[in-house]
Subunit: 473 residues, 3 copies
């Protein structure tokens, strides 16, 4: 992808400094670095690829949609308004994108040592040939350079998709989504593979103010009023079938707690009806979510969709920001998460099923070695998702492999996913992950735990084979 | 033990790849590598050494009794029936041991990067001269080679005991065990030291279905019907005395929670009587266990047996497997464990006692630096057991030393124990531990925290002196 | 500070052994090693600097006031009485300081591999030119050497303060303290900057037996009887103003739980009145502390004092020791600590305030990456204090940077603080921290994450700029 390296984007980046490990890491990395990207879990807006229009300016491309970036700026006292983040009520915010970019550039040093910084450096270098660290002095010139490029045909989304060597890209879509953009892509004749993922969180969260309107949308999507729990289940099954017909291979479930529990039909119906009346309690919501995870697992055994569970984020922790700017503004904070007890019912009911794949993700790293690796090293249906979110980083991925491998092995994990809404960061994230896996394997080789050939075989699995297997691709 | 090394079993295995550390690690390791093995906590069946009969075939030796191995195969979709694991109800399972071995060999790659893999490689290499990684192609030949060896006199258990340089081997035995095999060993004139450990879990777990029958066995073992709490206590004291007379130096207590709490006599008696009537509740069981830990500590102050507490495993998490195959089938899963509050009563009552040794083991690594090292760095009676079970590994032992040493020092730990039911894996496990300790100490030397002489002194302590002191051997 | 190094105090100590990292770590360290010490949080007795009298003998200087040292000796079976630790009731303890020193020296090996050992080596080497590891043989001679030095004018506290290059030293003082020693220092004409810190824990802990007498002292300090909650608040505000007039820049709050919650005026008053009657419950105390954290944050927004929260220590875990010897005797044990939920109210009310600084410290390292870095990487008011107490060590500081940096960056941390009551250990602790930061940055440089120039810039920030900014110095 690049044929020249300088100090801030070195060909040996992220490898262990010792020559013993580095030289072997390089060799392993060379086996996997050019493999196609399989991205089974992400949040890129499919509209981008459906319409294939030029990206707007650098600020709109890099900063405004990326809460990884503006959360750090916000933490240092810069208001989101100053960064052009739109408010819910339409109150004016900064619209001068050059001015915003300047502020970003002045504060780029805040990202030193962070994965966000590493990804940005990769993107600026490989996509836009920027070979300097962004700062106040070069802000303007770099803005100009990027803006110019964005108008060239080679920088259209589909061109980049091809350049990035993406074999398949999964998006994340709500249960009632008509998948309009996926349809447009399909009908456009373009060969890029962009598939939806079924994420029904909004229709499961019976204690959220907007739940009723989400149910209305779901009713509309299936052409029938959902006024009972059995109809709700039937609607979800229909929607899953539709998603599958549009290429979906997986579902995704974002839950605060991983608690799973089967309710009786009567209990489930009673809670659902209470919710329809707007009277669901917090405890109802907890039980309902626990029950729905059981239901979704049951559906997966029937339709074969891989089930992903993302647990442990306290969403919208900062109410001031949430009220003013909405969700996904950098204020989702992890909390302690428990799996051994919480997943017991689910795993006892479905965990012994050899034809089902349940992938669990966590933000609580203490569970890697204590709970998740032991569980995945036993239950055939359970696999471990890669290091997630805040841990999708040099230290985070290393900790993940160090804590998981000895108990679960490599083959109960499912390869990497980028989990990103920033399209341009996809290759940067996959490259970082490949480097860290190569480095981890090189360490095993130098410690004489595995041979170099074994390391190369495992690297291929981690990069390509395991993800295709886990998602049935 | 070996005088030739190849790629998969290198003389520098597990050492840090940097030459700076490796060369010093080697030097420290050389001081301890040939020291006798003191194994103060394990689960080898004493019958093996009592009868000293040839081990049966490779599958029976390596695979069927070892849940470390078949849990990993099970997690990848291989049924336990296919692996010849016997069912409780006698339903037929695979009996062709060559076929089972083949399946194991085909899937041996699953163990790459795991301690199980490292131990197996060590055993195959040093005991059976197998210098290849097991795989589908060499499965048959290796099976033959091992089977042939097993018929030679040098491969009888007592010969291997001597070859392994085992100074003392502790077994684990239930409270009512008559210690028949220990008696046979004693009376056989063989000089090998095999001693029992008093593990009364079964008679303490008042909420388990088989508790009453365990009490009956205990009654029988003391020749008196246990129909009251005082008689129960008296029986336990008698049994401890008997175990001590047979060489025991320690007791062992496997508990889900480390909660300790003294009940009044009346409370204890009431709960015990409720249990005798089969009416003990879960809360009764929790309180009773908490009280019994206090009682066992009190007994240890009187009879001098070292008290071991293993906390934090959710046993038999997979009910399907438990019902079909029984306990110890790879489905025990760790969970969050708390010590600061839970051990408070125990430590306040007995922790200041200089003549008592309480050794705590955990599966929750977060407690190493947060709770256990601070507690062991203060209370004279408390010592830390080595990295346990899933953490008895390259990364696990390293994390243990890194998190424990700075607060508790080296001298509040108690050396290594192998905790294994796989007799052949004993030298492999001790060797791995010695290498990792040598490596950890070498790192301290290269970072100029300690001198090489100090490192050698500590290595000797960690390998030999501390364990003998902690268990009064 | 030293121009000669030997085996036990090497100029490269604590750096990574690989030459690649070490050579760069040295270069970064050279930029920061001679910077003045800014010590914004500590427990040195200001009396030492007020009266500037010679330190008494070595035992009195090093051992008796330092619970880091005697806790380790105690854990190995040496009674505190044998170490001369004074009892509360005046029962006699060992008074022969040479004899105590001998015992300490005989057991110095217990500190190998611990930060306490590293600091002691540093102090003995740099302050007293002791170039040997303390042991039974050299105990007497070293005692003599130190004692002789302590009588020389260069070893008076203020001379050492200057030699240590301390720019500012913060003490910790109770809410009702008249700050007599700070006044003496101010009026003495000496130029050393020693400032108080407002720590009101004793008047907030309404469930402690001595609370009422603490309130009486507070009443006395403001010249008005505190018989209602509003008067309590007013008194605290007055005391803060007084502390500020004496140079204070910060407050400090030691709490077992980080729970924050606003009570209504009526609720707060009711609890306060119940406390005045000696009838406060444990639940009252918990709520009251939660409310007072909110109140103190509010006051900080008004008077600009930086707010420090130290959470998660179970104080005086060993009641026997507490009753016989009092607080701070090495029996404070960390426990699980939760921030995401507990700090929610505080951060929602004050966390978006750009003019407020709240610094959080924890003993529960699991919260670094899971809770604290995500929170500090978002809320403008929140910053992370350095690795605290048991974690102020080679491995502890390394884990801190590894877990915090990728999510919070470097600039949401606040530099180092020594948190020590051992005056002589201040340079040793700062030097260790500087070395570890240099080493961490060197690793980033060798992994090509940052350039050497960037590393030097960050090192300056971590050592000097960030601490001055966070504490408004």
């Amino acid at each position: 992808m690049v044929d020249d390296y300088n100090e801030i984007f070195h060909s040996d980046r992220f490898f262990d400094p010792s020559e013993e490990i580095k030289s072997i890491a390089r060799e392993i990395y060379n086996v996997i670095k050019d493999l196609p990207i399989v991205s089974p879990h992400g949040h890129v807006d499919p509209k981008i690829l459906a319409y294939n229009e030029p990206f707007p300016d650098p600020t709109e491309l890099f900063l405004i949609p990326d809460h990884y970036i503006f959360r750090m700026l916000y933490s240092q006292g810069i208001k989101l308004e100053e960064l052009g983040i739109p408010t819910i009520d339409g109150t004016e915010v900064e619209t001068d994108h050059r001015k915003i970019w300047k502020k970003f550039a002045e504060n780029f040093y805040l990202f030193l040592g962070t994965p966000t910084g590493a990804w940005l450096t990769h993107e600026l270098f490989t996509v836009f040939d920027i070979r300097e660290r962004l700062n106040a002095d070069n802000a303007e010139a770099i803005y100009d350079a990027i803006e110019k490029r964005l108008r060239e045909p080679d920088f259209l989304p589909r061109k980049l998709f091809a350049k990035f060597n993406i074999e398949v890209l999964s998006t994340t879509d709500s249960a009632s989504d008509e998948l309009k953009y996926h349809r447009i892509i399909k009908e456009s004749g373009w060969k890029g593979k962009v598939i939806p993922t079924f994420r029904p969180d909004a229709v499961v969260s019976i204690d959220k103010p907007n739940w009723k309107s989400e149910i209305d949308k779901l009713s509309e999507s299936v052409g029938e009023t959902i006024d009972s729990f059995p109809k709700f289940i039937k609607a979800l099954e229909e929607r899953r079938a539709y998603f599958k017909s549009m290429g979906a291979v997986a579902t995704d479930h974002g839950v605060r707690s991983a608690y799973t529990h089967s309710l009786s039909n009567t209990e489930a119906e009673t809670i659902f009806e209470r919710a329809l009346k707007g009277k669901a309690t917090e405890s109802d919501a907890k039980l309902f979510t626990a029950h729905m995870l059981m239901e979704f697992a049951r559906m997966s055994t029937e339709d074969g969709l891989t089930m992903q569970i993302h647990a442990g984020a306290y969403r919208n922790h900062n109410e001031f920001i949430y009220k003013r700017f909405g969700a996904d503004k950098g204020a989702d904070i992890p909390e302690q998460t428990e799996f051994t007890n919480n997943l017991k019912e689910l795993l006892n009911e479905y965990g012994n099923n050899r034809n089902l794949t349940i992938i669990v993700f966590t933000l609580d790293e203490t569970t890697y070695s204590r709970e998740l690796a032991p569980l995945a090293g036993h239950y055939p249906a359970l696999k471990l998702g890669p290091a997630w979110w805040f841990h999708d980083s040099i230290e985070g991925i290393t900790r993940y492999r160090e804590r998981v491998t000895e108990t679960a092995g490599f083959f109960n994990t499912v390869g990497f996913n980028d989990d990103t809404r920033a399209f341009l960061s996809i290759p940067a994230r996959h490259d970082l992950s490949r480097r860290l896996d190569a480095n981890f394997l090189a360490k095993l080789v130098t410690r004489r735990q595995i041979t170099l050939d074994e390391a190369k075989f495992i690297a291929l699995q981690l990069t390509y084979d395991l993800v295709k297997k886990a998602y049935g691709l």
